[in-house]
Amino acid sequence: MTATATDAPGDPAVLDLTAWTCPAPLRDQPRVVMGHGGGGALSAELVQHVFAPGYGGDVLAQLTDSAVVSLGGARLAFSTDSYVVRPLFFPGGSIGDLAVNGTVNDLAMSGARAAYLSCGFILEEGVEVSVVARVANALGAAARAAGVEVATGDTKVVDAGHGDGIFINTAGIGLVPAGVDLRPQRVVPGDVVIVSGAIGAHGVAIMSVREGLEFGVEIESDCAALGGLVETMLAVTPDLHVLRDPTRGGLAAALNEIATASGTGVVLQERDIPVPPAVANACAILGLDPMYVANEGKLVAFVPREHAEAVLESMRAHPLGAEAAVIGEAVESHPGMVVARTGLGGTRVVDLPIGEQLPRIC
């Protein structure tokens, strides 16, 4: 950036917002780093500069969590996701629950009720069969709870030391109801932003068991299938504009993706975002921001203003939306940028996370 000739000394130089991304992506990372899987800017760059040119087509180019395709006259939502969580079992769920709910939720964000899943297990040599059975049973129970059938599967085993016990990939399909068109491009200024409940529990739950951190109270993952909640919302109006489940990268990543894809700005009222006290405390101790922490049973919705109240009411009547709250709105100003009004009355930009959030030193 260079200051323009008209800038007085000390004045901020003119910034070009389009220049806020790295001009030479991946230049500085010749090898994959953990951040490439973090759901933030590094992940997006890997897709944009490696996968899309490698095998992408028109459908992939939409970069949605699940693709909506037409097949034999039906509109299908189609999605896949891999699960590499450690530990395999955590407060509130397991890798088996995640493998079902994650993919079911990706489909639900397109408005589809998941019908069938595939399930591929990659097992590490040496893992106990009883552990595999526990995961399989948890996966089955989650599928039954979500009303989805696992229709096909696959198993591979890798040498000891080449896996992490159990990796799972699931893919799913479901029908998108007529009249439902959930895309960030449909967001318009004035849309109301609703979150279905308190954020951050899953990420903190995983961190507490993975790192052996004690926060004085056990925090359980919010892992849940959201198909039923989405159906409830669509019953109020099929005219919801966009839904996202804020998993990796948390609420901040989901809102930034929507703001960027829709070309609108987002303004949040920070005090209205529900955060469980235990999550807030854990994040304060670690120097993390709850807005960047993963969720596995929450959604964020952009709803036309005229339907917002009815949709919110319907969500609160559903067990998975009891703590739903209006947290902000889409605006014309600062397109592509998410801005939070702080509890004290100031403002701050809520950016896309870069890679993984890192605990602070002090």
């Binding site: 130089a13 910034l15 953990m34 600062h334 801005v339 509890g343 100031g346 930009v349 605990p359 602070r360």
Partner: protein
Amino acid sequence: MKYIEEFQNPDLARRLLDDIHSVVTRPWALMEVCGGQTHTIIRHGIDQLLPEQVELIHGPGCPVCVTPLEVIDKALAIASRPEVIFCSFGDMLRVPGTGRDLFRVRSEGGDVRVVYSPLDALKIAQQNPDREVVFFGIGFETTAPPNAMTVYQARRLGIANFSLLVSHVRVPPAIEAIMQSPSCRVQGFLAAGHVCSVMGTREYPELAERFRVPIVVTGFEPLDILEGVRRTVLQLERGEHSVENAYPRAVHPDGNPAALAMLDDVFEVTDRAWRGIGTIPDSGWRLSTRYRDYDAEYRFSVTGIDTKEPAACRSGEVLQGLLKPHECEAFGTTCTPRNPLGATMVSSEGACAAYYLYRRLDITTAARETSPVA
């Protein structure tokens, strides 16, 4: 546990802000020393709510930001060795050394692990007797005692495969260096509460007297910051310059005697280089000669590393309060959190990263307002 909400209460914040607005009669430049305070100020938009006459200058108190490039490069060299398990707090992994960071070392096969306490690293050393475990001991007076305790424990338990890469720094000599700088604009300090919880406040009256600046020991929540600002401004308006403790719930004037004894046993004062600023006499700690066996620099012979700072990075001026982050030509274009030129853009406590993350909107708006109409 409810220690956070009360200190973010908007009604109380408003009252404190009203107080500050009512007492200010002319411009004052205050420096918040600690990066944690910078983070709170920017994250909550506190600087936007203060009277225009009160300018907050962001000080050099981010441990990640001031760790010299040379030390980062030593860490990278040690972490790259096959026999080493290199343990660090999380936010050091993304700090750029010369050409790479610890994440890169990890992706190239280095065994780099994030820990939450140096004692975790000691545990890893016990569990891996055939490996060399190194902990990256950086930071201010706040993180020094647990690091000292870990070395003390290693020796007590006879754990020989553990060592510490040390780059500890001390606040008072930095305040002195800032005040002695001919371009210094600082008229009052918000001292770092966590540092004082260890060290107490005994080191500060002499500085306040010599440089005729108020020094107010300040905490980290929004109300703490506002109270620190209020007291500093009050002193300035009255022409006073004393040391006050606005963080009594954590800070005792004598500090933490056990921690001080541990520091005294394990470390000795030394000159330290500060990234972007240069060497400040007596501003740091190294392992004392009694504990030299646990010093990773000697164990792995990583002396004589030649380093080069990116020429475009002006973080030194930012760390001394001479430049606002967005006044740097590289800010937001060639230097972003994604591609940081210097550590102030890496750490979430770094002034540049805080500005980039939380203040982009204002800067952009200001830039648009001041830019010529095309």
